[in-house]
């Protein structure tokens, strides 16, 4: 044993991240509740563009994922890493840079998303300057973490740290690849990949954002805080090793299960399904390892709210990691996809797993770093029951809503017609469930408010020991024991562990993504598919700005119930000019891929102005600003130039002519609107004209073959 060394733990950074976790948690949940109520009472957006559903939905998801859970991860990592390694963080300056940088990014997101500045990639909506800031802060976090690992006083790396390392590596890779884009202004960019390829990379990212931001770091936290809170070691350390390697290997492959029955090649869909099913094994291994840690301590679970939170969290992890693979089976996915079933599933994971584990950790951690006792155990107990009730009220109605709506979409009359041909009927049917969901979310939020008061009162009572002095023996060189084998060796070598985890994670990515990018046959070309006109392009960007993709898919699956309702199923070749792809993942409104030509221009005009005037009972919010605001053509030429550089076949020099073409097409659309009775001055200059041009173009490039009677 080396000689004892005195040093201190940095509790100040842990305290800061704890504050941020609590505050952003409340903000993110509040925005979620607001969005949920807007689905029942659309007028709650107060006709304000910045807070309409399409814009605050990504604000909610970003806030809860990256602000609430993100800060929760950093709080737990900065606390547990120092103690597991018996070392202070590598650099206080990097810790501070990490903290303030991350909060600045969150603030930038909270400003830009309501302004409609979005890349439209789900969970990666932030625009390129913020993406670069994220990369810098993430690298600072990595240097700080690995620096600490390198100067550690403990020979071996506990399994929680492996999960932290895998998280860091994978998030780095995912973030870079999914945000490859070419800027055309300070706040706008066009993604490098288009259509099917963009979709595959996005859902490779999207799925792994769930895997490596919401799951692996939290598993690391579980492996540290569950033994701490229960005061007993993890049930099986062997199982935790198998859990780690199997999980990080398999997770990376499962992304395509988000794209079943879409235009993605079948081989990629099948891979996604197979690996998703395989995920059950390591996930449940981890869950059982967590629950069995409490073997012989269940009497304490009855009394200790911290353990209660953790038990529900681990159980929710088990439930959602069983449900996820089941939803990846094609025949089940055919029912669940695009419905609220997916939303309910996601919230079992986030409210149950991430939320409850964060609460448990906060209740355990705050009294310890503030050297006091929790202000009120009773309140914590009440919070536990309120949160559990909130989850049930949230999830059960949404499951019901998902099943109901899916069944209604697919129901046929004996004579072969859809029973509910009007999509709106399937929406109004589930509105009571939406209301219950919003109430469930509110109950959960009330619990979180109670926790915040409890924790801030606890902090007020105690005094945070910013630099907690401690001592540990210095690290001595490890003597190689005869017969020592590979894993024990790697547990002492963080750099090799980093490389091993990277290789394991990359295998999935390489095999799955590269063939899609390099083999042309994966996306068959369709001769009649042409690039968007400048006006349609601007309309498409308005569609992106308003977050229409949050409620409308653009992907008709090859089911009779869909082709009957929407038109011909979507082909991969139709999306080759779609940057970004806009397939969507949820149908709160109908699919729009075959929207072109279905309605008149004036129908769209009045529908955007006041949806209920065209579709009584609709929960789509009105978009009056599209009618009032002038269309900006400031960046039209720049967009054309970027698209040309990405091989979109506009004629040479077209960028100079684009605005003139745009104005001409706008006049044509405006003339049609006037002919249909719309009276408005300067109509051809308004945003609505561009949006209508885009909507009328959707899905019209390929004409379905006429059905000829035999």
């Amino acid at each position: 044993m080396g000689k004892m060394e005195s040093f201190s733990y940095d509790n100040k950074i842990v305290k800061w991240f704890a504050y941020a976790t609590i505050i952003w948690g409340l903000v993110g949940m509040l925005v979620g509740v607001w969005a949920a109520f807007q689905l029942v009472f659309p007028s709650l957006n107060f006709s304000t563009a910045e807070v309409s559903f399409g814009r605050i939905r990504p604000l909610h998801t970003n806030a809860v994922i990256f602000a609430f859970v993100g800060n929760g991860i950093f709080m737990g990592v900065y606390h547990s890493l120092q103690r597991l390694l018996k070392a202070r963080m590598f650099s206080d300056a990097l810790s501070k840079f990490h903290f303030w940088g991350w909060q600045a990014i969150i603030l930038a997101a909270a400003i830009t998303l309501p302004l409609g500045l979005t890349s439209s990639h789900e969970y990666a909506e932030l625009e390129w300057p913020i993406d670069i800031a994220i990369a810098l802060v993430w690298i600072a976090f990595g240097i700080n973490m690995f620096g600490t690992i390198l100067k550690r006083r403990e020979n071996h790396l506990y399994v929680a740290i492996w999960f932290y390392i895998a998280t860091w590596v994978t998030v780095t890779v995912l973030h870079v690849f999914n945000n490859l884009s070419i800027p055309y202004s300070l706040l706008h960019s066009i993604p490098v990949l288009a259509g099917v390829q963009d979709a595959l990379v996005q859902w490779w990212y999207g799925h792994n954002a769930v895997a490596f931001f919401l799951t692996t770091p939290y598993l690391g936290l579980m492996y540290y805080y569950l033994p701490k809170a229960s005061n007993r070691p993890i049930f099986s350390y062997k199982l935790s090793i198998i859990h780690f390697w199997a999980l990080i290997f398999i997770y990376i492959w499962a992304g395509p299960h988000h794209l079943l029955y879409t235009s993605l090649p079948d081989w990629a869909q099948s891979l996604g399904t197979v690996f998703s099913i395989m995920l059950i094994a390591p996930s449940w291994g981890g869950m059982l390892n967590g629950l069995l840690t409490l073997r012989g301590a269940w009497d304490r679970v009855r009394q200790d709210p911290i353990l209660k939170f953790m038990v529900v969290a681990v159980s929710a992890y088990g439930m959602s990691t069983l449900e996820g693979p089941l939803l990846s089976i094609k025949s089940i996915n055919a029912i669940s996809h695009y419905t609220d079933w997916t939303v309910a599933h996601v919230h079992i994971g986030t409210l149950g797993w991430n939320g409850m584990l964060t609460f448990g950790i906060l209740y355990w951690l705050i009294p310890r770093i503030f050297n006091t006792k929790l202000h009120s155990m009773r309140w914590a107990n009440i919070h536990f029951w309120v949160a559990t009730l909130g989850i049930l009220f949230y999830a059960i109605p949404l499951y019901w809503a998902g099943w109901t709506q899916s069944m209604m979409w697919k129901q046929f009359e004996p004579d072969g017609f859809l029973t509910y041909p009007n999509f709106l009927e399937t929406v109004t049917q589930i509105l009571p469930m939406y209301l219950l969901r919003a109430i469930g979310g509110t109950i959960y939020l009330v619990g979180a408010i109670l926790m915040s008061v409890n924790l801030f009162k606890t902090m007020g009572k105690g005094n945070c020991e910013d630099n907690e002095v401690t001592e540990a023996p210095a690290l001595t060189p490890h003597k190689k024991v005869k017969g020592e084998y590979w894993h024990k060796w790697i547990e002492r070598r963080p750099v090799q562990m980093l490389m091993g985890a990277t290789v394991v994670v990359l295998i999935g990515g390489l095999v799955e993504i590269f063939p899609m990018l390099i083999i042309d046959d994966n996306v068959p070309k369709i001769a009649s598919v042409q690039p968007y006109t400048p006006l349609e392009l601007e309309g498409r960007d308005l569609y992106i700005r308003e977050g229409c993709v949050g409620c409308h898919s653009q992907m008709v699956r090859p089911f009779r119930s869909e082709t009957e309702r929407y038109g011909d199923y979507s082909k991969s070749g139709e999306f080759i000019y779609d940057r970004p792809f806009l397939w969507g993942s949820k149908r709160t409104g109908p699919d729009l891929h075959r929207e072109g030509g279905k309605y008149t221009n004036s129908w769209h005009y009045y529908h955007m102005l006041e949806p209920e005037s065209m579709s009584p009972g609709s929960i789509m919010p009105p978009y009056p600003w599209l009618i009032e605001d002038d269309l900006s053509t400031k960046y039209t030429s720049a967009k054309i130039k970027v698209l040309q550089s990405l091989n979109t076949p506009y004629p040479e020099g077209y960028a100079d002519q684009a605005v003139a073409d745009l104005e001409e097409q706008a006049r044509e659309v405006a003339d049609q609107l006037r002919a249909e009775g719309v009276e408005q001055e300067n109509l051809e200059k308004k945003e609505i004209v561009a949006l209508i041009a885009y909507l009328q173009r959707l899905g019209t490039d390929i004409t379905p073959e006429p059905i000829v009677e035999q």
Partner: protein
């Protein structure tokens, strides 16, 4: 339903086989190595979270 799942998996090509093979290799390797470790080492690793803190206040979980 089984027939349906197998049908859809019918055109899995070499990529699927390669991935399954590599996964099995990693998985089996991990299991073999894990079960070759000494109990003492495993006990040491599992106890790391519990002996890292020298200044915890007394049990916080008692009822207020």
């Amino acid at each position: 339903m089984y027939k349906y799942i197998l049908e859809t998996a019918g055109n899995i090509n070499w990529m699927a086989l390669f991935s399954l093979f590599t996964f099995l290799t990693v998985f089996i390797l991990a299991i073999v190595l894990v079960f070759r470790r000494s109990d003492d080492h495993l006990r040491h690793m599992a106890s790391l979270p519990l002996d890292d803190d020298h200044s915890s206040p007394s049990d916080q979980t008692e009822k207020n």
